[in-house]
Amino acid sequence: MARPRATIRSPCYYYAMRYISERSTDPGLLVLSSLAGGSKHGYAITQDVEEVSGVKLGPGTLYGALSRLEGKGLIEPMPAEDRRKPYRMTSEGSAALSEQLEMLGRVVDTGLDRLRVAAEPA
């Protein structure tokens, strides 16, 4: 039996793309991804996130994310350097990030597979 041809406009495609765009610009995920590369203070995090993802985190968004992550125990502050306080990821943060990225990876793989099938000639 011929496999039904998925179209680019299928609801699955839209769902996957929406999920990726929402999740990949989630400030918490971006901050955790940045801290996965080592401890950083606020300014260094914004620079790193902008360089990697093109997303410019404002101070309000950044500290909203940092406070939530710290509240959940996913990151922790280190001793302050002047007024700047570096943050590092905890082991719980590392596990949460890896779980999130694996899930995103599955969505990305599925989306790309479906796109490839859709692009194949009938």
Partner: protein, 301 residues
């Protein structure tokens, strides 16, 4: 100017959040370009921090400071509520509304109930605020921050009184506030009133955190704040009843022109006022609840 606005936006964050992250945020703001986008981001962040405080952040605040935050929060909500309430009063003061109130008991009774609640809430505000104002005036000689807050509040009240006097003189000289000149004068007065209200709310908060207040005084302020909150919630609900009664019994009034330039209809005006009232009452309820929780956990002495 933008830097000053950004520092002002930082001051709008909850106290516990500011104490924990304020210095770091200020350092980041000073390192970032002074753009309007940054200011908007800070304002959005402040709103988010109030609406969804991060887990455990409130525990860093002493119960006295929580009571200070609650009292100043309820004051700010009351100022916003009073501005909307004054708009409601101006919208419904004319003859057709009083006639509708006489003809339909639901309209008349709800309007009367709103006025009675407004008087009771004003008395509760005065009872809670007066001892604190007296204490602030006494301490303003010694403490610079208290002096600055007191000066700001007194300046705002004086400016509002002068602008109100000027509006009354203008209205009596032109016999009414209709027409373009009247509309501009009334709009300017509203704008000045809102700015003065905002300045008073800001001064109340910064003054309350800068001055020494006995725990007993803070508990009294919380009690008055709770009464004000209950009155605000009842007034907002009664206003909703008034709108429903107006829509059912005197629907033609809802479509009438209203405001300085007759721009929004009566229905739209009252709708906006109701949204402000409900928002202010809800925020005051959240703040008051946090105050009582802190009082119980900190022990009432």
């Amino acid at each position: 100017m933008r830097r000053r606005l950004q520092r002002g936006a930082l001051a709008l964050y909850p106290v516990a959040f500011r104490r924990r992250y304020g210095d770091e945020m200020l350092a980041l703001v000073e390192d970032s370009p002074a753009s309007s986008r940054t200011t908007l981001d800070l304002l959005r962040g402040a709103l988010g921090a109030h609406a969804r405080p991060p887990a455990g952040i409130s525990a860093t605040l002493s119960s006295e400071d929580r009571l200070r935050a609650t009292s100043s929060g309820v004051l700010a909500c009351w100022i916003a509520f009073a501005a909307a309430g004054f708009g409601f009063y101006k919208t419904t003061e004319d003859h057709p509304f009083s006639s509708a109130g006489d003809a339909h008991p639901a309209i008349g009774a709800s309007h009367m109930a709103i006025q009675i609640l407004a008087v009771l809430a004003s008395i509760a505000v005065l009872a809670g605020a007066l001892p604190l104002i007296v204490a602030a005036l006494r301490q303003s000689r010694r403490a610079r921050a208290v002096r600055r807050a007191t000066g700001l509040a007194l300046g705002a009240v004086a400016l509002f009184a002068i602008s109100t006097g000027a509006l009354v003189v203008f209205a009596s000289s032109t016999k009414s506030l209709s027409g373009t000149a009247g509309g501009v004068a009334f709009s300017a007065w509203i704008l000045i009133g809102l700015l003065c209200g905002g300045a008073c709310a800001f001064a109340g908060r910064s003054g309350l955190f800068a001055m020494r207040v006995r725990r007993r005084g803070l508990v009294a302020a919380l009690t008055c704040g709770t009464l004000v909150t209950v009155a605000m919630a009842l007034m907002a609900l009664t206003t909703a009843l008034y709108i429903a009664a107006l829509a059912v019994n005197a629907s033609s009034l809802a479509g009438q022109e209203n405001g300085p330039f007759g721009m929004p209809s009566v229905g739209i005006s009252i709708g906006i006022q109701l949204v402000v009232m409900l928002s202010a009452a809800s925020l005051a309820t959240i703040s008051t609840r946090r105050g009582w929780v802190a009082l119980r956990s900190g022990g009432a002495t």
